[in-house]
């Protein structure tokens, strides 16, 4: 896989993690003004919050880079490879939002890292020929 493709996967992780954290900060600040599931009208005013605007823009960046990655890699490669964002979100939560990372969360981080390491060593893409053979095999069965 080329270096450019690793950059795209890294951008998926960065846009997704920072987008979610900015959204979280923005929604928490809006919550004090009364946003809840029972009061969806106030959700519209939350979109005027600069944190929410920034989060939304980053999540759009996430969607674009995620779709780019899916254009040349398998879904079962992209999802585990970019799941490192769960670790980044946990770390950002601790350092930016003052959340506490428990022992169980550290165990979770170790498992996600192991999973990412497993899939990153393999191939990113199942070839078109392999897909055709698989489809033919299924239609015969």
């Amino acid at each position: 896989m080329s270096r450019r493709k690793y950059y795209v996967l890294a951008l998926v992780v960065l846009f997704g993690s920072f987008g979610n954290v900015l959204m979280s900060v923005g929604m928490r600040r809006s919550q004090s003004e009364g946003v809840s599931i029972h009061n969806l009208g106030h959700l519209i005013t939350a979109f005027a919050n600069p944190w929410v605007i920034g989060g939304t823009l980053l999540l759009i960046g996430f969607l674009v880079t995620y779709m780019t990655a899916l254009s040349w890699a398998d879904l079962t490669y992209v999802l585990p490879a970019t799941s490192i964002s769960y670790i980044l979100i946990a770390l950002l939560g601790q350092f930016m939002l003052g959340e506490h990372i428990t022992g169980m969360r550290w165990l979770g981080i170790a498992l996600v890292t192991g999973g990412v390491g497993f899939v990153a060593r393999g191939r990113a893409h199942t070839t078109q020929r392999e897909r055709m053979e698989e489809a033919e095999r299924r239609s015969r069965d």
Binding site: I37, M67, L70, Y86, G108, L111, V112
Partner: protein
């Protein structure tokens, strides 16, 4: 299992189903369009955008992602976040692996299964 549990797990199932449908449909759409890098060399960035926005599967995938978002909001208003977020995230990893095998014809070998299981378990713990 009381009525509240049934409702909670029903909503979790709806989140997992709609999220998996969104992921599989978007992956199918992108597979059909092909590598964005190569396409951009031929038709430019405008051509790539046009190919994506004209894809029915992509628009369907956005619809399912929206359903997933709203059912997640409903689930969060009904049940504890410490149950809903780990359960939906971990289950979606596993259903995506199964769906990719049957609907995208991806070669989900042992390495990818182990990765999906590790990540699903890890995400469940991290999200608590």
């Amino acid at each position: 299992m009381d009525r509240q549990d049934v409702y909670t797990w029903g909503l979790i199932a709806a989140v997992v189903f709609s999220s998996t449908a969104g992921d599989v449909l978007s992956a199918q759409a992108m597979q059909k369009i092909g590598d964005f890098g190569k396409l951009r060399e031929r038709v430019g960035i405008g051509g790539v955008l046009a190919a994506v926005t004209r894809s029915g599967r992509f628009l369907f995938s956005i619809f399912f992602m929206a359903i997933s978002f709203f059912t997640l909001m409903m689930a969060l208003s009904w049940a504890d976040v410490s149950l809903v977020v780990p359960a939906t995230a971990a289950l979606t990893f596993l259903t995506n692996a199964v769906a990719a095998k049957f609907f995208l014809y991806e070669k989900v070998d042992r390495r990818r299964w182990i990765a999906a299981l590790f990540v699903a378990a890890g995400v469940a713990l991290v999200s608590q």
